[in-house]
């Protein structure tokens, strides 16, 4: 077992912009051990739980434009995970609002529909949950329940048009091959509003970074809902049903919900009530990958802050950094964006001439005008952590 030091969330409250003091406060880091373990076919990742397997990508593996398949994060809700033989796998498409039913093999899926490929962020709704203050129950992810990959497959809408979508269609329901140990545990089944299912950027994907989907990331085929959080990206797809009514399973009606009206993002009207609504789009966010909080810089040696910024698909317009606790902001240099759903690199030279602390805040703004907030919006499940990241570096 390999371990590494990490900075835990205990001091995050101290990192919030204080309205009273009007200045950034940087809390002292508290260190804890965290195991790095390898699942079969994966590199060593941060183990959150063994069963069901929940493994987070270490920051060091988030430095490349494309997150490698063998270090991409793993997230399951249920412990029975099938080893599917791609040759015998079949995808069934139907439902009460489909005009026909269809059963497709992987070869038919690849052969009979137009192939599409683009880069997109796959980010768990609860990414950074472990950094919430007050804390929220659930898998205590830090920064790595996400990655940027090139997804290859076919458009879901092309497959749905093959079966024919009736006029009364409201939602499309997705089931995967994973299951629970007990019959009474709700199967992991998700739904999408029919318009999102018919969006050109919703795929049935069978390739990831040019290779067949890895087992732990949903082989042989998974849903890709570019711009929406990973809870909708159902792995090991087995059935797709077009339905005239709202799907009422646990994972839609109870889990993965946020307070209604608390966050921006697409509305999922058929699943919304006065209190709660499903989480939908990824909010604008950024991540510094070049340095960790508390890192030391050598005096006089050139240094550069670097990382990624992304949102739910509007694309990133600016990334800014502040060295004066949020009073003034300077635009960082942006890299190219391969797709509006992928992350975009940013760079900012750091002045290492003078010894002492260097307090850095980073905020990204999307083309839709949404900007990372100074404070978190509390919500019971710890979703949508996109608060401005702050780092305290030391030039010595």
């Amino acid at each position: 077992m390999v371990t590494r030091r990490r900075v835990v969330a205990g001091s995050i409250g101290g990192l919030l912009l204080s309205n009273l003091a009007g200045s950034w406060a940087f809390g002292a880091a508290e260190a804890a051990e965290e195991p790095l373990l390898a699942l079969p076919g994966k590199r060593a990742l941060i183990k959150r739980t063994f069963r069901p397997p929940n493994y987070e990508t270490p920051l060091a593996d988030l430095r490349s434009q494309i997150t490698a398949n063998d270090s991409f994060f793993v997230r399951y809700h249920l412990a029975s995970i099938p080893e599917i033989d791609a040759r015998t796998w079949r995808l069934r498409i139907g439902g009460a609002s489909a005009k026909r039913t269809l059963e497709l093999s992987l070869d038919e899926l690849k052969r009979d529909f137009e192939r599409v490929r683009f880069a997109a962020i796959n980010q768990c709704s609860g990414n950074r949950r472990g950094l919430f203050a007050p804390r929220a129950g659930g898998v205590q992810w830090t920064y790595g329940a996400m990655g940027n990959a090139l997804w290859g497959g076919v458009r879901l809408r092309d497959v749905l048009n093959r079966v024919g979508v009736k006029g009364d269609a409201l939602e499309v329901v997705f089931d995967g091959g994973d299951g629970a140990a007990l019959p009474g545990t709700p199967d992991f089944v998700k739904s999408l509003p029919v318009d999102r299912a018919l969006d050109a950027h919703t795929l049935i994907a069978f390739e990831m970074n040019g290779e067949p989907l890895p087992h732990w990331n949903g082989a042989p085929a998974r849903l890709v809902v570019a711009g929406w959080t990973a809870t909708y990206w159902v792995k090991h797809l087995t059935s797709i049903n077009v339905e005239p009514k709202a799907f009422d399973g646990f994972w839609m009606k109870t889990a993965y919900r946020i307070p209604t009206g608390a966050f921006p993002g697409a509305r999922f009207a058929s699943q919304e009530n006065a209190q709660t609504t499903p989480i939908t789009e990824i909010l604008v966010n950024s991540l510094v990958t070049s340095h960790v909080d508390g890192a030391r810089l050598e005096r006089g040696r050139p240094a550069e802050l670097a990382g990624w910024a992304w949102d739910g698909g509007s694309g990133i317009s600016t990334v800014e950094t502040s060295l004066d606790e949020g009073r003034s902001w300077r635009a960082a240099t942006l890299g190219a964006a391969s797709s509006s759903y992928a992350w975009r690199g940013f760079r900012m030279p750091l002045d290492t001439a003078k010894p002492g602390p260097l307090r850095i805040a980073v905020r990204a703004t999307g083309r839709n005008g949404a900007r990372q907030p100074e404070k978190l919006t509390p919500n019971p499940s710890g979703y949508h952590h996109n608060m401005i990241q702050t780092l305290a570096l030391e030039v010595a």
């Binding site: 959150r48 739980t49 063994f50 069963r51 397997p53 412990a79 205590q140 140990a181 019959p183 709700p186």
Partner: protein, 95 residues
């Protein structure tokens, strides 16, 4: 039996019941105290007990109570009232 043997025995019961435990999972050791084996036996039917350690900084007694009720009421864990109370007591006392 010493505690490790008892603990391993509890996981062995799960294996005999046809449940797959994940590689490495046996390394997770909950605090040795009354009802530890009950907690391992019941909770491990569906998940590794590192979930307990992971949520320890987050959940207080009320949180553990809510979590155990969720497992029974929403996830279908066949755990009676008496065992549920003992599980909550162990979790609230030791985590």
């Amino acid at each position: 039996m010493n505690t490790h043997v008892r603990y391993t025995a509890a996981l062995a019961v799960l294996l005999l019941a046809g449940l797959a435990v994940a590689a490495g999972e046996e390394s997770v050791q909950l605090q040795d105290a009354p009802d530890r084996d009950l907690v391992v036996a019941r909770c491990s039917v569906c998940h590794s007990v590192d979930y307990v350690q992971m949520n320890a900084p987050v959940l207080d007694r009320a949180g553990w109570q809510k979590s155990v009720r969720k497992m029974i009421d929403q996830f279908g864990a066949p755990i009676g009232e008496a065992d549920a109370n003992r599980i909550v007591e162990y979790l609230a006392t030791h985590y």
